[in-house]
Symmetry: C3
Subunit: 262 residues, 3 copies
Amino acid sequence: MTVVTFTTDFGTADGYVGAMKGVVLSLAADAVLVDITHEIARHDVAAGAFALAQAASLYPTGTVHVAVVDPGVGGRRKELLVEAGGALYLGPDNGLLSLATRGARQGRVIRSIEAPHFRRPSVSPTFHGRDVFAQAAGRLAAGAPPQEAGPVLAQMADLDSAPASSASGRSEAAVIMHIDAFGNLITSWAAEALPASRFFIQPDGGQPFEVTSGRTYSDVASGELMAYVGSAGFIELAVRDGSAAGRTGLARGDRLWLGRAS
Amino acid sequence: MTVVTFTTDFGTADGYVGAMKGVVLSLAADAVLVDITHEIARHDVAAGAFALAQAASLYPTGTVHVAVVDPGVGGRRKELLVEAGGALYLGPDNGLLSLATRGARQGRVIRSIEAPHFRRPSVSPTFHGRDVFAQAAGRLAAGAPPQEAGPVLAQMADLDSAPASSASGRSEAAVIMHIDAFGNLITSWAAEALPASRFFIQPDGGQPFEVTSGRTYSDVASGELMAYVGSAGFIELAVRDGSAAGRTGLARGDRLWLGRAS
Amino acid sequence: MTVVTFTTDFGTADGYVGAMKGVVLSLAADAVLVDITHEIARHDVAAGAFALAQAASLYPTGTVHVAVVDPGVGGRRKELLVEAGGALYLGPDNGLLSLATRGARQGRVIRSIEAPHFRRPSVSPTFHGRDVFAQAAGRLAAGAPPQEAGPVLAQMADLDSAPASSASGRSEAAVIMHIDAFGNLITSWAAEALPASRFFIQPDGGQPFEVTSGRTYSDVASGELMAYVGSAGFIELAVRDGSAAGRTGLARGDRLWLGRAS
């Protein structure tokens, strides 16, 4: 009874996700299928990598994670099976799997999916999600060992999203890694960087915002901009009963400086 | 093989729901996970309570229902496990569980989730869905008895949504409890209140609307405003091939009077 | 352990889908539930038929497919159980099941769902999804033989979506069968019709568009309109890094002519 998760930019309006699940269940009728999300913005590899990394560590050992955000489908990038931290990851070699498997970098084994039985007999050049990754997930869920999938690769594409905590004279830089559906801004600052009370964040080339440190939303007044250690372990910015993205106008990828209140 | 359902305001664009499911499956690999909905409007406890109540009664005995619409997360409200009508309900003590468990009010047992193994070792103050409710669901799905969760409470928060069927001289009042994705208006009028043919509804302080009673949409002409006994057992207003919400401009919570055609 | 899939126009904001699943699990606790999609446009029977047909063939033998896009619910149209190609299909008799079961037309058996135990004791005239189709799916998933459902019918409603490949003097006509979430246009042209390099498509009464044949998106430049054999086996039109629907202004049902470049 293997858990198979799905993270894609396919949306759920078409039958694409349903097609992938059919392929998995045809090979492994007792697989347990779970959606992480199918609402990654189209072709936004970094957002997919973040969503996968946030959820994957919570799954049982042996879980198979299928991730498809794949602007280069049908082109030259390889199809990967990565073993890391007791889990298996399937997806294109474009950085999508890099955040989730980074923590286990020492032990991770990267393979190219090339074995005929890990691919459907006829592979559509526009739908590797169905014809390669779902097929491989079905084989693994049915008990095939990962080493059957194909040859080991020396490396895989990595996202350049290493937390930008390059120290400067007065503060430490971060980027906004993710904006969630509530408008909360997830930064790359680690938990330890959270100042004790009030402080400023300074966007590159923008006006500073005053922020109140807190533990949870109800620690501040309605409408107040606050910072706290988010559930992913990074510092997040939020507006109680509002949207920090809307308030600040900041976007994913924007660079910030942390300024202690003077 | 325990069924675990999820009702939240998290949306599915982020990995939050996927994180909760990972926690459940890590504790109970054979749990059957079902989404009721994740599209409750943010912080709309009443809408969450309605969606949960509508679906929960259809599930098998022993089902564990996880509901998280939780504006007060990390604050003082307690985390509840409620036994009612042969099912188990997990959610914040803010009224969210009150509609679903109301019918079994005599027999319901309310507990505060405090046992260490019913909570993750480190509980994020902003994500009790993952660190308390999913963890508790996993324990229950794996066979832990509810009484392990924590002490019994004398009461829980109740929604003030008791069908407002206070009789008046000429008619009976109701509120609009829910507007569904089709623009159908679900009122608090019980089935018995449905007039036989044509009648009026009179919004508080607004113009009356003429309505035709029917059994199903095809009983009236396209574009006609009709009333019928909805699948939840309440009187609903609909426009065939259209939206009753759009036609009438009525909103959830609006108060109505039922006027027999004179 | 029977797979049960769901294809509806209910959306996921309300608890309607959750209600259906509860009914299935109450009858067959070990059913494996999979969503094809719930985002079919309201009452768009053709779109539902297409989504179901695209996904259904990928599922294991014995899968039960529940499809509900049902503008005539509660009216005179019958409720069907169709056996075709080793799978079982449940849905209204309005053409919704016709595409998925067409390939197996020789062998398909059509029944009207009339047996009392295949329907819930009280059938809401507006929610056959829950009270007929989910109930029937639960019975089938629990092992009831299809012939218990009701009498065999001689025929069922068919969609008039037979690929319009009526040949003309200079070219072959097609219709746009579906537009997916990426704005790709899925036509009714079979794979064999794809010209080798550059060609024109001519909408009825519109200006022609120049198109480049390719195998996958990365075969053309960003922003270029291309044609390729899609994963459903039909010719699709796409714009790399863009939307073919937006570029061409074409809509589902529009008729096209294929013009070899002169």
